[in-house]
């Protein structure tokens, strides 16, 4: 179906992104990949721009470490650059890219044994400390509390097993359907259902006190 879309060679495929000229439609992923295969590196730049935010945040939520996100995001897109010529569109481009991200993250988790046993007491303690600090420093309080809330969520995600963490990130952050997740991770839809359910159960257990006060 995608192959039937005519590729406009009158203008570079990336042109719609840098100027509002006569070309109104932005190129879809298929067109960008085709342009890249023909040697148009601007098409690759567009692919990076299109997915960099999602890629970075999937890595951040999965690994919970801001320092690593930049390097790993770069590694993801280098792998994309290396393999894009062989990409067959048997899945959507984003699904293929997310598969690279997920594999990289799982490798990283296993390699560094990042999973930490962060206890519920730890979360509560950190939250109380944050709230205490916020009372003392009124001006900075809002920002600090916001950051603290985010950190608690990211830490809670790190307590999940890598397989549970991956599905819940793709579902909650990427808003992927169960079918899309199944295709991306090459697992059954039934496995997706059960992993999402279990991941949520674990998260709710971890964040019980957090939600009790904030709902």
């Amino acid at each position: 179906m995608l192959a039937a879309i005519p590729f406009q060679r009158n203008f570079p495929s990336w042109l719609p992104f840098i100027c509002k000229g006569p070309v109104e439609q932005s190129p879809d992923d298929f067109q960008l990949v085709e342009a890249f295969r023909k040697g148009d590196e601007k098409a690759f730049e567009e692919i990076v721009r299109r997915y960099q935010r999602q890629v970075a945040n999937i890595i951040y939520l999965t690994l919970g470490n801001r320092e690593e996100v930049d390097d790993l995001s770069q590694e993801v897109f280098i792998r994309v650059y290396r393999s894009l010529g062989r990409f067959q569109f048997d899945a959507s481009l984003y699904s293929w890219i997310y598969r690279i991200v997920v594999n990289l993250c799982i490798d990283e988790v296993r390699r560094k044994k990042i999973r930490k046993a962060v206890s519920l007491e730890f979360f509560t303690e950190r939250r109380l400390e944050g709230e205490k600090r916020s009372k003392e420093h009124a001006t900075a309080s809002d920002d600090m509390l916001k950051e603290e809330k985010k950190r608690i969520i990211v830490d809670a995600l790190q307590r999940l097993s890598p397989v549970h963490r991956t599905v819940i990130v793709l579902r909650e952050y990427e808003d992927m359907s169960y079918e899309e997740i199944a295709k991306t991770l090459h697992i059954s839809a039934q496995a997706v259902k059960s992993r999402i359910f279990r991941a949520r159960e674990e998260l709710r257990k971890s964040l019980k006190d957090y939600f009790k006060e904030r709902l």
């Binding site: 970075a56 951040y60 650059y81 985010k150 909650e172 999402i196 939600f211 709902l215």
Partner: protein, 151 residues
């Protein structure tokens, strides 16, 4: 009671992944169960919190550093591939050379000595040749010629 709460269905309910029948069942249950309504609210809040936590932004020049690294890697690959190709050719040429030398050596080398028993097996033991050669295990062509002439 906990067992009466359709926890797994609630998870799929917030994801809009229920069949029509399941949706009806959950909706009916939610109308009468405050605990499950709270659970649904909590699941939705969890999604909002996760999306809020995903606030990482890459630097403006990220795309250029990716391209730079990708090109550098590609150039290294090209250099490595050409080196590898050259090495393969050298190995092939050397192999051909060695095989040729071995072949030539086999065909042009000195003839191996002739075994007595191979050539004189039919010679009666009381002949002159046998007497001349006696117990010699190996003879050269010259000795054979000499033996024949002197016979």
């Amino acid at each position: 009671m906990k067992t009466n709460h359709p926890e797994e269905l609630l998870s799929r309910y917030v994801d809009d992944e229920l069949t029509e029948g399941e949706r009806r069942e959950v909706s009916e249950h939610l109308a009468s169960c405050e605990s499950c309504r709270l659970s649904v609210e909590e699941l939705r809040a969890l999604r909002v919190r996760i999306r809020e936590a995903a606030d990482f932004s890459l630097p403006e020049n990220f795309v250029y550093s990716v391209l730079r690294s990708a090109r550098a890697e590609q150039e290294n690959t090209v250099v490595w591939l050409s080196t590898e190709r050259l090495a393969r050719r050298v190995v092939i040429v050397l192999s051909v050379l060695v095989l040729t030398l071995v072949g030539l050596g086999t065909f042009l080398g000195p003839e191996p000595p002739i075994r007595v028993d191979r050539y004189l097996i039919t010679e009666p033991t009381d002949t002159l040749v046998s007497q001349v050669l006696g117990t010699q295990g190996e003879i050269s062509k010259d000795v054979v010629v000499y033996a024949v002439l002197t016979k």
